[in-house]
Amino acid sequence: MTGRSTKKGRAHGGDRPAGRRRAPAGGPPRSWRHSPLRRITPWLFLAAPLALLITFTYVPVASMISYSFTDWDGVSPDRENVGFDNYVQIFTRPELFRVFFVSGYYLAASVVQIAVALYFAVILSFDLRFRNFFKGILFFPYLINGVAIGFVFLYFFQDGGTLDSVLSWLGVSTDHPWLGDPTSANISLAGVSVWRFTGLNFVLFLGAIQSIPGELYEAAELDGAGKWKQFRHIIAPSIKPVISLSVILAISGSLSVFEIPYIMTGGATGTQTFVIQTIKLAFQFNKTGLASAAAVVLLLIILLITWIQRRLVPDDKVDLV
């Protein structure tokens, strides 16, 4: 493989006379493009990145799959092959399967999150006062450390905490223990995740809306299209790819929730998520085999979702190579 393929907008570097090269005697061969060194060079640059990629992504995935068919505890030298038993357990033992239902709360929260983000992105794509201030306010929660957020909201939901005080200030007296029963706790935690992640969706949508050329609106206005029509026929189609990406991120995110519930409740009162359970199985109960099977299930679900999305909304982005 010599000479790069011509790509659009690229200077085509063909062979050049090497006469002007001030090569020291016995230096590089005259036509450097054809030297064997030229073929090795990219690999010298890729050695470290590929080594890291394979060691910390591909090796773990492969070994995870192999552990998932054993009853290994993660420490002892011997392990028994148990076939698909771990997978059967995950889907048949109700206490293991229950965690999937918790994801439902986060999935519902994602819908709210995307709707809210879309609303504010549309509003703030107009010129209005304090635009940058509001943009900053909406985005900032996304940048805050998760543990800090966990504590902020533990205080928010506790007895006589922020929420109770605000409610009594508004004349609603309540002594409802917000994190006290499974339904209310999960709704509260999912609410925290809306508070935390809306900003990212908002910024993505805003970027997409602002890349729509202004003439389109002007033309639409001349044709007498109202605001709603403009939204439906100009804004919505242009940001469809970003919305579909957000939906995917939302679904896989809802399945891999870990931080907020772990920090706030430790998975108590029915707030255990799939990942908290997997981590506990692996590192508390030494059930590496079962935990690996759970991780493989999660990985397969996420790959499946991604694949469905690619089929439904074909990516017209440029290929990276």
Partner: protein, 292 residues
């Protein structure tokens, strides 16, 4: 701070199309103010709590104001009893090496893929792309065994290696940018006898500055905030990062909300300062990083 609700459009500072606000200007501003309240209220209350004495926390409601606005005792407590100083040190150490490593590794990958033709190029890119689909959350069960095989559990190098080795977003950002650097520069340098490493070091790397800035910011913020990896790999008391050290406030400080609040504010402040200084970079960086 009541915004002027007359529907005259403000002169936009940014070069944007000027459009009139829809009729519901009042409602629009009301919804924005509501969102502002929802975002700021929980944070403000925690800030106020961090300035109170424990008696004040016990007696007053969550919305009461601290008696002394300059009461920084809780911050001293958080710093000394909460090991926050150690935590900031560890976090800085991890940040330095993982950001440095990510920049070097990401830019090398982009350089090799963009500037050379070799047979397995498509395969290499596919390896990187497929890896983006694998959430790190799922593989830790097995990654732990790899790290433990290297004998790196409970060292600062475990998170450093993991942050460096799984960052495809930065490779992508470098790749986008390196395409805009004309290859004629490489050619000219080569005629002057520069080899591939010299070209990378003296020409490509310096020209990548904007992309490097983006990667440093995104990587910096995500690494600073990460809880999962240090929580799994660094159990020792003296190896806390800001996330894990703050998490440990849960035990000893049990119901001492004033100390916990001070710890939380300490962790949030650096993020706030960076955000105010680098707003535009941060928006662009995160949108680039997410829509890969």
């Amino acid at each position: 701070m009541t915004p002027d609700l007359t529907a005259t459009p403000a002169p936009a500072r940014a070069p944007r199309r000027r459009r009139r606000l829809p009729v519901g200007a009042v409602l629009t501003y009301l919804s924005l103010l509501a969102a502002t309240a929802v975002v700021l209220l929980p944070l403000t209350v925690v800030f106020l709590t961090s300035l109170k004495t424990s008696e004040e926390v016990g007696d007053g409601g969550a919305l009461s104001l601290p008696g002394n606005w300059l009461n920084f005792d809780n911050y001293v407590t958080a710093f000394t009893d909460g090991n926050m100083l150690m935590a900031f040190g560890n976090t800085a150490f991890i940040l330095f090496f993982s950001i440095g490593g990510t920049v070097v590794i990401g830019s090398m990958t982009a350089y090799a893929v963009d500037r050379f033709d070799f047979r397995a190029k498509k395969l290499v890119m596919a390896l990187f792309l497929i890896a983006t689909l694998v959430p790190a959350v799922t593989t830790q069960v097995a990654t732990f065994q790899v790290i433990s095989g290297f004998g790196l559990v409970d060292t600062r190098w475990a998170p450093i290696l993991l942050y460096m080795g799984t960052d495809i977003v930065s490779v992508y950002i470098f790749l986008q940018f390196i395409r805009g650097i004309p290859t004629s520069l490489d050619e000219a340098a080569r005629l002057d006898g520069a080899n591939a490493f010299t070209i990378y070091r003296k020409i490509i790397f310096p020209l990548l500055k904007p992309a490097i800035a983006t990667v440093v910011i995104i990587k910096g913020i995500t690494t600073y905030n990460d809880f999962y990896i240090p929580f799994l790999y660094m159990h020792s008391e003296d190896l806390g990062t800001i996330s894990t050290a703050l998490f440990r406030f849960k035990g000893p400080f049990g119901a001492h909300w004033e100390a916990i609040s001070a710890g939380a504010i300490l962790v949030i402040l650096p993020t706030l300062i960076i955000f105010l200084l680098l707003q535009r970079w941060i928006y662009n960086g995160f949108s680039q990083g997410a829509t890969k």
